[in-house]
């Protein structure tokens, strides 16, 4: 049996004519669209030699709702809640990107107080998104317990969001030009308490996973993506940074209030699943750092810039990208001067990152496919839009 596992490694990678162990037929396995570990309705057609992946093809579109088309028939404000439904585990980040894009198009700027609160909430959302990633990623690899721990902490973040704007998942937290709601009275205290707890809790996860031999065995050297490949495929976010490329829009092209805060960009070395894990864990710590800085620094002042009831941006186009939890989330908006955008094109990080899947999965085992889907941290709502 040892041969079964060691054999196909070399040949499967080359993807040549079907030559499998013992001359058996290649097995085509449809993973998904209903499968517990494809994180939604992703369908992966796997060509298997025994359990080794000889090739793969991602079939997407099962969750396509035509978000970009809908935008053309909604006013600028009306479309804002729709973006929450793309990456529905990081709705706040989606909203931030959209609102800032429209602001840029109109040439208005949110007031400083709004900017800091936006940054604070977005970073909380980043932690929530990464927690969900960790929960499902660990579950895919077979560790049951982190799931419940991560959801416990995510719950705290959702509670803060709920207290802030009344919604937990699809928050629609921001408005074009600033905020609708000011920070509630105890928000800073809540965030501070969360940050203090969370730094202790994150150690728990690392106790369970980081040093665990099985975890290391399952993640080290799995789904390696080199920096060049990552850049060539347009991969962004933690996946890119784990491949050793220091690229974070928060630092490179600061938006919101990120230029006021100190934080580090963790990068990996090997570009394997373990590095991506480490990078995301560290990003959560950095997010806590940003949140803690923001708490004391929320300036007084208005929360909404002067924008009219009816938004009519001048004719023109704009591309604005933010560093969403999963990578570069960009909005390209073309305005024809009416109340509705002429065209909205969204660059979703999950969709682009998914391109790397085949490269990462080839030559690995079915069990690794699950780990690789997990480590890419895709949300199908965003891939399909």
């Amino acid at each position: 049996m040892a041969e079964t596992t060691q054999n196909g490694a070399g040949q499967a990678g080359s993807g040549s004519a079907p030559h499998t162990l013992l001359g058996a037929d290649e097995l085509i396995l449809n993973m998904g669209p209903q499968h517990p570990s494809t994180h939604g309705v992703l369908r992966v057609k796997l060509k298997l030699d025994g359990e080794r992946v000889a090739g793969s093809e991602c079939v997407i579109g099962y969750l396509h709702r035509g978000v970009e088309k809908i935008a053309e028939h909604r006013s600028y404000q009306q479309f804002a809640p729709y973006v929450d439904r793309m990456d529905y585990v990081a709705a706040v980040s989606n909203g931030l990107g959209y609102c800032e894009a429209v602001e840029k198009l109109m040439g208005v700027e949110a007031p400083p107080r709004a900017k800091v609160i936006r940054t604070l909430l977005t970073e909380l959302q980043r932690i929530a998104s990464h927690l969900l990633w960790l929960a499902t990623h660990a579950l895919d690899i077979g560790a049951l317990t982190p799931l419940f721990y991560c959801f416990r902490e995510r719950e705290e973040i959702l509670k803060i969001l709920e207290k802030y704007c009344g919604a937990r998942l699809t928050t629609h937290a921001f408005r074009i030009g600033g905020l609708q709601y000011d920070a509630y009275d105890t928000m800073e205290k809540d965030v501070e308490r969360f940050c203090a707890d969370f730094l202790k809790r994150i150690v728990e996860y690392e106790d369970l996973l980081t040093g665990n031999r099985i975890w290391l065995g399952r993640t080290k050297g799995v789904g390696v993506l080199s920096g060049e490949d990552a850049i060539a495929m347009g991969v962004t976010g933690p996946v890119l940074r784990a491949s050793g490329v220091q690229w974070d829009i928060r630092k490179a092209m600061p938006y919101a209030a990120y230029d006021q805060f100190e934080f580090d960009i963790p990068i990996g070395k090997n570009g394997d699943t373990f590095d991506r894990y480490v990078v995301r864990m560290e990003e959560m710590r950095q997010s806590v750092r940003i949140c803690r800085q923001a708490i004391g620094k929320i300036p007084a002042g208005p929360i909404l810039a002067k924008v009219g009831k009816v938004l009519k941006p001048p004719v023109g186009e704009v591309y604005h990208a933010i560093e969403a939890p999963k990578g570069e989330l960009g909005y390209y908006i073309v305005s024809d001067g009416t109340v509705q955008p002429y065209r909205v094109r969204i660059r979703p990080p999950s969709f682009v990152n998914l391109q790397a899947f085949d490269k990462m999965a080839r030559g690995h085992l079915v069990a690794d496919v699950v780990a690789i889907i997990g480590t890419l941290d895709i949300v199908l709502g965003e891939v399909d839009r």
């Binding site: 041969e3 079964t4 054999n7 013992l22 058996a24 025994g50």
Partner: protein, 164 residues
Amino acid sequence: MTPQLIVFFVLAALAVLGAVTLIAARHPIHSALALIVVMVALAGLYLLQGAEFVAAVQIIVYGGAIMVLFVFVIMLLNAGEEERTSLSRIARVAGIPLALALSGFLAAAVLRSSHAAAQAPVTAASTRGLSMLLFREFVFPFELTSFLILVAILGALVLAQREN
């Protein structure tokens, strides 16, 4: 009819039935299952003879390890049902008489020696007796056999390597 005899006949019938199914079944997995039945029935027969150790080892090695390997390979190759063919001419001309002759010889041999075998003391039944035989009296053939198996494993490895 002593209980032993009843058990013997049941097991023997099971073994024969299994063997026939093994040949007649069209799907390799069914054949493999039938073979497992034969193995287990044989183990029961050994047990009836008082050879506990041999019976257990029969199940562990043949029923457990070897047949699992068979089933594994059949599953891995995803072998389908066999086509049923008419008997080839050689089989018809030579096979059936040969099979009959073989059964005749076996029956004659069994009938002739049944008394002598029944009287023979069971030396190899217990684990201790068996190990005494294996590691004292027949240690040379035993080691030779293990060497032979090693050679077979090496041969299989070489063959598998050449494929690549």
